[in-house]
Symmetry: C2
Subunit: 357 residues, 2 copies
Amino acid sequence: MKGIRQLAEHLAISIGTVSRALNGKPDVNEETRRRVLAAAEALGYVANQSGRSLRQGETRVIGLMIESSAEAVENADNFFLGVTSGLQSVFARHKLDLVMLPCPSDEDPHEYLKRMVARRIVDAMIISNTQRIDRRIGFLSRAEIPFVAVGRSLSASNSRWIDLDFEGVADRAVERLVARGHRRIAITAPLSEVNLGYVFVESYRRALERHGIRFDPSLVIRVKSSEQGGYQAAHELLLLPDRPTAIILIYELMAIGLYRRLMESGVMPGRDLAVIGFRDAPRARFLQPSLSCFRMSLYDLGIALGQMLLAHMPAYRVLYPNAGRNIIWPLELVSGESDAFEVGRGDKEFASEHWSK
Amino acid sequence: MKGIRQLAEHLAISIGTVSRALNGKPDVNEETRRRVLAAAEALGYVANQSGRSLRQGETRVIGLMIESSAEAVENADNFFLGVTSGLQSVFARHKLDLVMLPCPSDEDPHEYLKRMVARRIVDAMIISNTQRIDRRIGFLSRAEIPFVAVGRSLSASNSRWIDLDFEGVADRAVERLVARGHRRIAITAPLSEVNLGYVFVESYRRALERHGIRFDPSLVIRVKSSEQGGYQAAHELLLLPDRPTAIILIYELMAIGLYRRLMESGVMPGRDLAVIGFRDAPRARFLQPSLSCFRMSLYDLGIALGQMLLAHMPAYRVLYPNAGRNIIWPLELVSGESDAFEVGRGDKEFASEHWSK
DNA sequence: CTGAAAGCGCTTACAG
DNA sequence: CTGAAAGCGCTTACAG
């Protein structure tokens, strides 16, 4: 089966009618439609997307841009694959297909995005790994390409994003640790300009200050967001004068390397150092002691992203009137053993007493 | 900037000449070409891919089909993202773009593939997660869509694939363990019909028999290829009568759950049970004791896949005369502590003595 | 070396 | 309810 012309010929009918029947237009005789549909099915006909796209000015493809740099690969977990399922469940209802666009490591993400958009491979985009200043946002806005960002950005003055609740996580982590007597609490931050690093550290700073603890920049440990980075973070932490009694990680898998390095030095997480992770991951679930961390549903996040995107595409807007502008995505604390102890000024007993009165 | 017509108007030149200049056709005045290129750059013109595709009958997009089922997400690591970089380095030379096509969990992979191909979103495909019998292979062959599979299949009688060297891995793992006195060696296998499971178990069986060890089906532990599956595998192993002294894992991250379960029972990997993993992964590198496993370069695999695919696309065939049909991809053993001990008939001393003479 | 024109496979006003 | 025709944005024989 080649094209619509052959199908029409086979049915002895015009291509216009075939097209209308296939696309569910109302003004087609039901018997005709039935025959067309049956023949298309039998002959395996599916409309050539290039023809449709050219005529309609849309591709019915949504792009999810991800990074495939060496570091991204090294750190990769299932985040985007998890989100993908949720996105697809929304897009499938409108016969939109999702493709993942991996930006090569040696290409500037902004240039890559421009190329993809200009080529008109997709109708709309989901971008991620948002930078503090991100030129992609202005570009997509000016080009009038509907898009949603995973992660807020200073550049996103007038565009849509969903971001994880870094403030909430930092708040609750700090509060929990302070309640257990911790005063010197370290935190990890990414090396790159990715905006979540700024947001997370700032939230941590404010949370500390609310509890009357001075922010100490030397307790912000900048490392890669990977297992390796966790190992490095533990290494740096152990070298700090007046060693912190707790650490908050920005990425759950860092706990794997962190635990390893601590144990090499005989420092026991959950006894000598409190550790709180970020998202939970299957990998981190097998850590011993189990990791206190924050949980979320990637699938639900995907659904929210998909709905928010459709809410800003002219063709679907009316169907998603309630998909608000920006969302801070909540995470739920999962209590583990990695921070299940109390510290005091001098000894652990003091902390317990102090705490119980 | 809209289309080629506007660009041509702006240059006071015909669209045909603009097109030829942009596409590097030889019969264009160099001065004209320079002007066209400069104007395109200045005005941000990039050819609309739908128009090109329709006219040329090709999209210049290559698809990499991956699974996004719940289990795939759960088990996901950086395998495909790693391969992606290598693929792109090959495709970039020919201005081909790579998109990842995630098959939704609730859609049959065969139907999904048909839809993608029929819509003509891509010119060629890389498929993965090859099943023992895989209808996608016959479909792509009949449709004359160039493709390469990651993983061999019984269906691939006349098509191209690259697969990991499961035989070599099983051989060397068994040989290494037997040399250290092990006779009861367990192995994990996937629950699904994915072909690598069959290949791996069969290679293990043959390796055992070469060493005069009878194959015992009860030592093939079928679990999910994930951390959770590793936990389950350890659980089942501990319940086996006449407990095995060694286990070979088909997926490196299983070691994380396996270690956890073993340690819960006071069984120490590397002392009470020898463990050999498959590929190494950043995650598994932090295990203690360190995991003996097999290493490979995902980037190089991506390059080989890309070249093999291009070697079977009419437009590029001549450029890749040496990209053979099928490749068994070698892996290199990385010696860790997880199998660094010897066992004997009765006690460890015997084995050492036996071994040293 | 350049221009004018055909046509890739569709969808969609328009006419009947 | 159906058909004939235009046209989406390109590339490419063809003529000059």
